[in-house]
């Protein structure tokens, strides 16, 4: 099966300023993919390269198996894009804008379009310039979904949406996936997309640090544990346990971080009198930061290898 997105050593410099460097990214078709990174990490640069709005300094990119520059129009017929800083023609009403964009696209499922307008509770009679950010975003989302594209590229799509509409948006993404379409969502916040995505890639300072499935990340769930014992315990009793790190023993209290199963730690603790156990499960975001948070791409990869 052809990958929905495939980049090879994709690199972009703006003059001497860094855009992205050597990004090798593959997004399989039929997935919801989260593209994560802090602001300025290169998410929008990557997306605008995929759309041929800017041209790479080196490397190449393919979308739906086609070259992003040479096969531009063929790609545009099957791909929708909602930019992060969404700007639409302010003088048009929502309805006029959808008509215009639909005509440019050539084919629109009118019935589906009306259903989308209803589901996202969009008032199409208002001019774009009078809409709030969230409502503008809704126009963009209707425009993107109404053509039933094979690939949706959404740059920070949930900014400004109220929670109810956000749920509706998520079910739209899931429906698209169920129909075998691919959704590529960029975000600077993992919690916003972690329950939605099958896989996530993280980009930092222009480099793709890792691509992981959400399931694999969850297997590596980190817990911070504090165990209070009835008496002082020797550190040596807990040294070298599988999956235990950041171990400190302070008199009667043990503190550590555990990755994966708690089994070996619990068994080691059982030989002493245990008074209390406090456990905090960390978010996926913290997991990501634990592995890749050094900010240095090469170190991030080593950490990923060590963890695998």
């Amino acid at each position: 099966m052809t990958a929905a997105i495939e980049t090879e050593k994709l690199t972009k410099y703006y003059g001497r300023a860094r855009g992205i460097m050597d990004v090798d990214l593959t997004v399989e078709a039929g997935q919801i993919f989260g593209f994560l990174g802090p602001n300025g990490a290169g998410k929008s640069t990557t997306i605008r390269l995929l759309l041929d709005l800017i041209r790479p300094t080196s490397g190449s990119a393919r979308v739906l198996g086609m070259d992003v520059h040479r096969d531009r129009l063929a790609i545009d017929r099957r791909v929708s894009y909602v930019p992060g800083e969404l700007s639409l023609y302010p003088e048009l009403t929502g309805r006029q804008l959808l008509t215009y964009l639909g005509n440019l696209q050539g084919r629109v499922d009118a019935e589906y379009r009306e259903k989308l307008i209803e589901r996202l509770e969009l008032d199409t009679t208002k001019r774009i310039k009078s809409l709030s950010r969230g409502n503008k975003q809704k126009v963009g989302l209707v425009a993107a979904f109404m053509i039933r594209p094979d690939l949706l590229i959404l740059d920070e799509p949930t900014a400004g949406l109220d929670p109810f509409i956000q749920l509706e948006f998520e079910s739209l993404c899931e429906e698209a996936r169920a129909e075998g379409r691919t959704v590529f969502i960029s975000s600077h916040q993992l919690p916003e997309v972690e329950h939605l995505c099958d896989r996530v890639g993280i980009i930092r300072e222009g480099r793709l640090l890792a691509v992981e499935s959400i399931a694999a990340l969850k297997e590596r769930a980190l817990r911070r544990l504090e165990i209070d014992f009835g008496s002082e315990v020797p550190v040596a009793a807990f040294a070298g346990l599988l999956g235990v790190r950041d171990l400190t023993v302070d008199g009667e209290t043990l503190r550590c971080t555990v990755m994966g199963s708690l089994d070996s730690l619990v068994k080691a603790a059982a030989q002493f009198e245990v008074r209390n156990v406090r456990s905090v499960e960390t978010s996926l975001e913290e997991i990501f930061l634990a592995y890749y948070g050094s900010g240095d791409g090469t170190m991030g990869k080593e950490a990923a290898n060590a963890a695998a």
């Binding site: 759309l51 709005l53 129009l73 894009y81 930019p83 048009l92 215009y100 440019l104 696209q105 050539g106």
Partner: protein, 265 residues
Amino acid sequence: MLLRSVFGKTIRDLRWPTLWVGLGMGAMTGYFALLFPTYSKLFDLNSMLEKMGPVAKLLGPGADASTLVGFLHIELFSMILPALIVAFAAGMASGFTAGEESRGTIDVLLSYPVSRRRVVLEKAAAVVIGCVIAATAVWVMALAGAAASSSPLPPDRLAEALVMLVLLGLAFGAIALAISAATGNRAAAIGVAIALMVVMYLIDALAAIVDGLRSIQPLSLFRYYMGNDPLRNGLSLTDAAVLAAVTAVFLMAALVAFDRRDLAA
């Protein structure tokens, strides 16, 4: 209905500017045509021209205030109408790609199956339509004014002069379009186009009294617009071809430059 294509959308965007420029230029021309007999009775316009001496030459070879044709030439076709049509065409053309870029709408537009070249071409075509509509308004209102004041004004010559006017506007429009497509900077595009127009106007006008300028007169597009005095003599195909060629060259430059460039985020 106009929201079917980039061309239609651009026509829609240009509808009010086109209406105002067309009505403005038309009303001015019609007004002069209507009042010409009164003017020529009240003032001996030709003796005023003689008193101006060599400066009258600045008004070009067609400066003869005893006929409506000569009067329109002096009052409107030598400076005001060209300035207006150039400002209109260059103003519109400079706003197309640069305007969509600075507003950020270009990202959405180009994510639809419309090539960059087609965007430029369809927008350029809309300016041609806008200029033709504005010129047609001038033609209708000028002839109406002339008929009302029973002054002779040959409709075919007027049409030919207006064709030259449109070609002049399009040439400067194409220059503005090329700069805007290459740089994404609307202010630079319109500024350069207007500055060029002023310089070219001065070269062409002053060449009549300053010998040193005569060698560079062919560099001025006004030379081709005015050279044959189209309102009196009809248009020269050569002059029209020069203006059309300049337009084509800059349009090509705009297409190539816009196609190659990184677009602003």
